[in-house]
Amino acid sequence: MFESMDAFLAIATASLLVVLGLSALGAASRMIFGPGYADRFVALDMLTGVAVSVCALTAILTGRREFLDVGLGVALIGFLATIGFAAFLEKKEREQK
């Protein structure tokens, strides 16, 4: 069916990347239409996970190891962003009192 295992791997990875793109669109729609701030921050957390997966699959598709480094950086930045937004949510409440 396929010429080689490499072609099979490439085709499977590319089609799974399309599915991941649809997932990213769904999480982005929750970020845009989310009724509250907390919903948007949860959607950001989800988008970080999708971005790390996209980096891993891109590393498989292109065969370049650097994309795994990119994934590690994205995970680090997403963690710091989530902590920052959580602190923002709590601080807003303390200022109101």
Binding site: F8, V19, M46, L68, A75, F79, F85, L89, K92
Partner: protein
């Protein structure tokens, strides 16, 4: 053979990610959405990184993928805990009707969006007298 194992692991990871995104879209309040995104999202991303390690095979890729998985598993529960605590304290709506943390953590009466909705009117009301008194001094608070 290695490619087949990698593809199976990859498909499992993408299924987890897709289900987590479906939960983020379909669930009703922020804490339920967090329940979907933190756990299933962590497993999905870890499986995708493991697939990358299996498919690429050289030592550097395996080490970086394992370090990334370790980092994700160590940090995402912390981030989820902080975000859930902040969402509860800031008064985001709970749709299940039960409040198990009542009296344990302080909680705002209304959600942050309801409280910040009146800020533009309050700013306008605070700026308007100053603008009437001194037309060039609107930048002064």
């Amino acid at each position: 053979m290695i490619a087949l194992i990698a593809v199976i692991v990859m498909i499992a990871g993408v299924i987890f990610i897709a289900l987590a995104t479906a939960g983020v879209i379909r669930f009703q309040d922020p804490l339920q959405r967090m329940h979907a995104s933190t756990k299933a999202g962590t497993v999905g991303a870890s499986l995708c990184l493991a697939a990358a390690a299996i498919a690429m095979g050289d030592l550097g890729a395996v080490v970086i993928a394992l370090v990334s998985i370790l980092f994700l598993v160590a940090t995402l529960p912390v981030a989820g805990h902080l975000l859930g605590r902040a969402a509860y304290i800031s008064g985001s709506p709970l749709r299940t009707g039960r409040d198990a943390l009542k009296g344990v953590l302080p909680r705002a009466k209304s959600s942050l969006d309801d409280r910040t909705r009146s800020i533009p009117q309050r700013v306008a009301a605070a700026v308007a007298p100053a603008a009437k008194k001194k037309p060039s001094g609107t930048r002064k608070r």
